[in-house]
């Protein structure tokens, strides 16, 4: 028979168990008691111990009120020492039983952290917060630290029937007490009840759900529980009254402002109008319209396909992985991004969802065409000398035609008003190429296209 001094001392238990295991004493020859018949057998040996596997599970289960907790844990330690990997089988009946105890202790700890209610008193040294609580298991000692960390600048006491904890910069434990040791009411309890009553929605009354989370056994120590019966009784009438009450008319007309499409005279105007664009369905899912960026007097305009995930979140064009490639190409060709105007043929991000990821989807012809008037107005405002179409979408947006990038790449076309158009690949295409040789060739072509456009714009 091993008699532990305290019912809530896993460490002492572990040391006794280590000694018993070392002597090879089988579980059926040991019986345990925790705190009930103290010091009868207090001389039983304890041995220093190594850390156990599964220690957290055991330590928690040992705080349960079930009398067989000690023998259950000792048997588990015994079996674990004899069968390697035994602890790793969650279907073992002994482990299932321990997990059950551990779960109940965990919930009991959680409830204590949630439901302790402090009342403010004044003692010789000033204000002190004191609580009466009735845990189902031996959980106070293990949770005192939580309260110490949380209420570090308070002096507090938690009194339970078995044990009390007092904190004055350090936690001290003392024997248990009674409800009479703690005042029944705090000055703030009334405000708390007011809050509790007001945050409850009578149209959602559901006492069964409430009681499954907050069983009645807790009610007597909760200041707010006093108003539950009244709230529940009045709920149905209140909910019905809300439904029956005559509704109030909205104050403003709900017609949305008419969308004007006045000619934009500058980029700010254009941006404002673009922000309201609903010409195609893409605006429904995208974060925002991504306008072009760059100086008003840019000689060179770059037209990419459409914003991607990064651009959509940040609201700026060509800043994601393809944008990085583009910037690198600009650096190599000695072209300053600050001096060029960068935009997209389609101004909203189009994507499909794969799990939680937004995967870029190619814009359809309808979406490109719906957006092309915006692109043309950007051109009218910026009036660049040279425009570079990067990829088929840009080409379609600029010309209204389906043209193969492969065929028109690197060639100059004349547009109206002496403007020249050069087609090149989209930098995202370079990212997608797998073959190293192909990739090198495409990269060189891309660089030479940009260099050509840059030179032309400066001429």
């Amino acid at each position: 028979m091993i008699a532990l001094e305290r019912p809530d001392d896993p460490e002492a238990f572990f040391e006794h168990a280590a000694a018993l295991l070392a002597e090879g004493i089988a579980p059926e020859h040991v019986s345990w008691s925790g705190g009930e018949s103290a010091d009868l057998f207090a001389a039983a040996t304890r041995a220093p111990r190594a850390k156990w596997r599964g220690e957290k599970l055991f330590a928690a289960a040992l705080l349960h009120r079930a009398e067989n907790r000690f023998s259950l844990v000792y048997r588990a330690l015994w079996r674990a020492a004899r069968a390697k990997g035994w602890l790793g089988n969650p279907a073992d009946p002994d482990l299932c039983a321990l997990r059950k105890l551990e779960g109940e202790v965990r919930r009991d700890s959680h409830k204590m952290r949630a439901l302790v209610r402090f009342r403010e008193i004044r003692d010789a040294e000033g204000e002190r917060f004191i609580a009466w609580y009735e845990p189902s298991h031996f959980t106070l000692r293990a949770n005192a630290d939580f309260f110490a960390h949380r209420f570090a600048n308070m002096r507090w006491s938690i009194v339970t029937p078995d044990l009390s904890a007092h904190y004055d910069g350090e936690v001290r434990f003392a024997p248990g007490g009674s409800r009479r040791d703690v005042p029944a009411e705090d000055a703030r309890d009334e405000d708390w009840r007011t809050y509790y009553a007001a945050i409850f929605n009578p149209a959602r009354l559901n006492l069964a759900a409430m009681q499954s989370h907050l069983p009645k056994k807790f009610w007597r120590n909760l200041p707010e529980a006093r108003v539950i019966p009244t709230l529940a009784r009045a709920a149905q009438n209140r909910a019905e009254a809300m439904i029956a009450a005559p509704p109030t008319a909205p104050r403003f007309s709900r017609a949305s402002a008419p969308q004007t499409e006045a000619a934009a005279t500058d980029l700010a105007d254009l941006r404002a109008q673009l922000a309201c664009c609903e010409k195609c369905p893409l605006h429904r899912e995208a974060t925002q319209v991504v306008c072009g960026a760059g100086p008003l007097n840019a000689q060179l305009m770059i037209v990419a396909e459409q914003p991607g995930d990064h651009e959509d979140l940040a609201g700026s064009p060509l800043i994601g992985p393809a944008g990085k490639i583009f910037d690198e190409a600009l650096r190599r060709t000695g072209c300053d991004r600050e001096k060029i105007y960068v935009t997209n043929a389609v101004k909203h991000f189009k994507f499909t969802l794969k799990g939680k990821r937004r995967i870029h989807a190619k814009p359809g012809a309808g979406e490109i065409d719906a957006c092309s008037s915006w692109l043309h107005r950007e051109i009218e405002i910026v009036r660049p000398k040279v425009i570079v179409a990067m990829g088929a979408t840009a080409l379609r947006g600029l010309t209204g035609q389906i043209l193969a990038v492969r065929e028109s790449r690197g060639k100059m076309f004349d547009l109206a008003e002496d403007r020249r158009l050069l087609t090149t690949t989209h930098p995202a295409y370079l990212l997608r190429l797998q073959d190293e040789q192909e990739k090198r060739l495409a990269w060189r072509a891309f660089l030479s296209d940009l260099a050509q456009a840059h030179a032309m714009a400066q001429a």
Binding site: F118, A152, T194, A209, S212, M242, R254
Partner: protein
């Protein structure tokens, strides 16, 4: 006659209760003992400090700083055209109340929102000032959730993130068209843009490995009202999936549209669709934790609506019976997670246990809390569902006995 403090508290709490979010989990760990001053701690796990008779958790002091509002959102109790009494707390009053409640262990912290007064920026500044007082004057280390006003300046949103554990912008309704008719001053694009700003800040701070890294909110969430417009469940879930994908939201909260005092004529008044809300939470859970794709969930609906009598995973399984039964001893994890009644924890235990030998039904029953829903969909050495799986009556059999629903998600 000026209102008494407790009357103001009642008004400002009443005005906040239609926001379903109550989580106090996932904050950055810190505490007053280690910091050496003040009060409060965040452990990462949320705590529900009480439950109201609607079964919902009370974790945070959830109030509005003021319920005056310039906007006229039809579904909202605080809209300008509503005749509810109005009041406000000063930031100092709200901060003091939070600390007083916290010190009595009533709450985990503060969830602060506000009606829009003067301008979105002016409103946001008041919310920030309250959080600043808590952090700086009261050395408060508890949880703070700040509602972000969608049109506010990004610099203010960034400042709010430095003070709070969580930020949220409410999407309000699943579709732009509904927003236009029911919340005329709000725009989907503005809301999304704020979410993108918050995501950018959170990601930026998370990636910052420098020593002088500032603390910043660890997550954002949003709320959608269910049943105020005509959007079906598929539309709602698609919107949620896009929000999770685009802005890395921790949570989308669904709030069954509920009758409010002095309701608007623009909306039908009826009991809140609580069961529908419950099924949406379950579907959302499958989306986030079970590897379900939103289109798979859409396919599990009947004409766009989730079955009210069956949980969405069971509905999906019944429409994909050809994939079952699965062998409990061989099925990969992804497939175990598709079995109705098998949760993440149980699936992982099954996988661990079967390394020690073939699992029989007895073993499964020790690992799972109930076998009822699992049985038709698995095989074990001593069990086969036989023809039950193909039976017309399986759906009837799996229907739970009628009872009041529970499982309001929190903490």
């Amino acid at each position: 006659m000026p209102l008494h403090f407790s009357q103001k508290l009642a008004i400002l709490a009443d005005a906040a209760k239609y926001d379903a979010s109550c989580a106090s989990s996932g904050g950055q760990k810190r505490d007053s003992l280690r910091t050496g001053k003040g009060v409060g701690s965040v452990t990462g796990a949320g705590i529900c400090h009480s439950f109201t008779p609607d079964g919902r958790c009370v974790s945070l002091l959830k109030i509005l700083l003021t319920n005056y509002c310039m906007y006229d959102c039809a579904f909202c109790v605080n809209r300008v055209s509503s005749n509810v009494p109005r009041t406000r707390f000063t930031p100092a009053e709200a901060a003091q109340l939070t600390v007083d409640f916290y010190r009595r262990n009533y709450i985990e912290g503060l969830f602060l929102s506000s009606g829009i007064i003067r301008s979105p920026d002016a409103t946001m500044e008041q919310l920030i000032e309250t959080a600043r007082l808590l952090r700086e004057e009261h050395a408060f280390h508890g949880y703070i959730h700040l509602k972000t006003i969608a049109d506010a300046d990004p610099a203010l949103i960034s400042r709010a993130g430095e003070l709070a554990d969580r930020l949220s912008v409410n999407i309000e309704l699943p579709q732009e068209a509904s927003l236009k008719t029911l919340a005329p001053e709000k725009r989907m694009s503005t809301i999304r843009r704020s979410m993108a700003t918050i995501r950018g800040e959170i990601d930026g701070h998370a990636q910052d490995k420098s020593a002088r890294k500032k603390r910043f909110a660890t997550g954002q969430s949003t709320q959608m009202i269910v049943g105020a417009d005509s959007a079906d469940d598929t539309a709602i879930l698609r919107t949620s999936a896009a929000l999770y994908g685009g802005y890395s939201l921790r949570r989308v909260y669904y709030s069954a549209f509920s009758p409010i005092p002095d309701a608007s004529a623009a909306l039908p008044l009826r009991a809140p669709p609580l069961q529908r809300e419950h099924r949406l939470y379950q579907a959302d859970w499958l989306l986030r934790n079970y590897g379900f794709d939103v289109e798979e969930l859409a396919q599990a609906t009947d004409g766009g609506m989730l079955d009210l009598d069956l949980d969405p995973k069971t509905s999906w399984a019944l429409k994909n019976r050809a994939l079952f039964p699965v062998d409990i001893n061989r099925a990969p994890r992804e497939m175990l997670l598709r079995v109705p009644g098998l949760g993440v924890r149980v699936a992982d235990r099954v996988i661990a246990a079967r390394r020690h030998g073939a699992l029989r039904l007895d073993d499964v029953s020790r690992l799972a809390s109930s076998l009822r829903r699992i049985l038709p969909f698995i095989t074990a050495p001593d069990w086969s569902p036989g023809a039950t799986l193909d039976s017309e009556r399986l759906k009837q059999k799996l229907r739970p006995a009628p009872r009041q629903l529970d499982l309001f998600p929190c903490a």
